[in-house]
Amino acid sequence: MDKIISVKNLKTYFYANNRCNKALNGVSMDIKRGKTLCIVGESGCGKSVTASSIMQLLPKFSRIEEGEIIYHDENGRDIKIHELERNSKEMRQLRGKDIAMIFQDPMTALNPVYTIGWQIVEMIRTHEKISKKEAKERALKLLKDMGIPLAEKRIDQYPHEFSGGMRQRAMIAMAMSCNPKVLIADEPTTALDVTIQAQIFELMDKLKREYNTAIMLITHDMGVVCELADDVAVMYMGNIIESGSAKEVLENPSHPYTKALLKSIPVLGKGADQEINPIRGATPDPFDRPTGCQFAPRCDYYCKECDEQMPEEQLINESTHMVRCIKYKEVVLNG
């Protein structure tokens, strides 16, 4: 079995301000052992909510309505995450130990009043019964592994004494401290400079190789996908509209949205001569979602049937390449 987490028809709704926001409306995907799954999509499409749902870290005014999230543990057991209470013991044991997470902004994701070392030790000692000293030694080793210079000194410093890149390394060190099977990274480099981003990606690549950790990488940068992904899932307005291996999806984009997205970004090296085409219109209001295919109002292939319902998942050519568009054949043909 190469899947480690499978998500089926996940629906997560938000209930803030007396309104219901159907942030996730039937998301299905699989994370494979030792592979990187990239989730791309524009802001607000539900990438982070997917991650939070898996970790059961949703805010109070939200609920998983339907669907299942299953963690396939090493012993072949299936843990039904969606049935666990948010802060139950089982869920807490999964968190950090089996599934770890790093966040977008390392500035705010570390508690400012505790030292880096303290925060890593806390993580280790939550899941393993070892002495403080041992835990600290392990933390030190982790920091060294993550390429933090002068780790002996750094371990007793506070987050604000670290630079952005360092903090993200420290975050990763913390996430990796209990050897998780899955690492969920929610836009881990958006707040960082490109040169630092390159460092972080290098590190993540190394981890994947050395520890066989599955990575779910959330991003909105197609470039990142091209460079790092084994598998890709493209999200739009709370649905995964296309997924598959990176090669499949990027070489043969089969959903009008994926295709348009790829055409709308300038590619380095092509210079001023390349043509970029914006996607028409704007992302719909999350409270006023289209009834059928979410992309229909902006789609070049729009037809009446698109308004009826969100298209079913379809596999292209019996492969792993999934698409949710009734006209995907036409799209592929035009591509």
Binding site: A16, N17, R19, C20, K60, F61
Partner: protein, 307 residues
């Protein structure tokens, strides 16, 4: 009252919201702030109490036929009756009418002081925050000096200097209170000073005053309004406290503080409840209602607040 677990109760609420959403039956109000303001029950209650008391004070002549100053030695310390709804005081004045007319002055003192403080504080704070530099540094220092006095101490000293009268009290409250508004306005302006629309006005080379007072000020009106309401409440309480120490508005003038002050002695406290209880309740209620409204205003103007 249902006895569901908190989680179940929450989920029941969710179901209701979802149903409404699916049937598209929710009411969408145009101004989210106002909607939010009224969705807060406490604020609504506060607003109602506030309006009732305020209107009653303003319309005092319509509600009572008694002159608050009319001494009636034949009707002294009468308990509430149909003649005098809330009874009479030690020299036969109608308490209901005194509460209403006294409220006018108390509210005026509170509101006037709050408004005065805000006016000075905002004018200085906006410009100081926007301009920065030496002027700012000096003003901040001055405000620090004013604020490092415990307010009541400064008020007591000032009262003994310029004497007791309603307008003096207002002046004193303004002298003592502008500092905090100044600080608030300044920090608010500082927080939007680097906003790009301000920068763009600078790029156009617009006059500092126009940028500061016309373009920036409206964006901090929310917190200022909150501040005005909350300090109105504070000043009403402070006036009462001053009256208690015998340093408030001259005793012959009816204000809530003075009415309460007149019944300080334990005999009255134990035997003539109508002399202190109604007015005590009215002060507390009114102050509370302002606080409710202020709080609601704060929540509704604060974009970071959720729910």
């Amino acid at each position: 009252m249902d006895f569901l677990s908190p989680k179940k109760r929450l989920y029941k609420k969710f179901d209701k919201i979802k149903e409404r959403e699916e049937n598209k039956t929710f009411k969408e109000s145009k101004n989210r702030s106002i909607k939010k303001l009224f969705s807060n029950k406490l604020t609504t209650v506060g607003l109602v109490i506030f309006t009732v008391i305020l209107l009653a004070c303003i319309c005092a002549p319509l509600l009572t036929k008694y002159d608050p100053l009319a001494v009636d030695m034949k009707n002294i310390l009468k308990p509430p009756s149909s003649d005098h709804i809330l009874g009479t005081d030690k020299i036969g004045r109608d308490i209901f009418s005194r509460i209403l007319y006294g409220g006018r002055l108390s509210i005026l003192i509170g509101f006037g002081s709050a408004l005065g403080c805000s006016f000075i504080g905002v004018i200085l704070g906006c410009y100081s925050g926007y301009k920065g530099g030496i002027l700012d540094a000096i003003l901040v220092r001055i405000s620090e000096i004013f604020m490092s006095f415990p307010q009541l101490i400064l008020v007591l000293m000032l009262v003994s200097i310029i004497g007791q009268s309603a307008s003096n009290i207002v002046i004193i409250f303004i002298i003592c209170g502008w500092g905090s508004v100044f600080r608030m306005a300044r920090s608010q302006i500082l927080s939007i000073r680097e906003e790009e629309y301000v920068q763009s006005l600078k790029v156009f080379g617009l006059n500092d005053f126009i940028i500061c007072y016309k373009h920036m000020l409206p964006n901090i009106i929310g917190p200022i309004a909150v501040n005005i309401t909350l300090s109105t409440a504070m000043f009403i309480l402070e006036e009462a406290a001053l009256s208690f120490l015998g340093l408030g508005v001259p005793l012959e003038i009816a204000t809530w503080g003075n009415i309460l002050n007149a019944s300080q002695d334990l005999f009255t406290l134990q035997n003539n409840w109508w002399m202190w209880l109604p007015v005590g309740i009215v002060i507390s209620l009114f102050v509370m209602s302002i606080n409710f409204v202020g709080d609601g205003l704060r929540d509704s103007t604060d974009p970071t607040s959720v729910e």
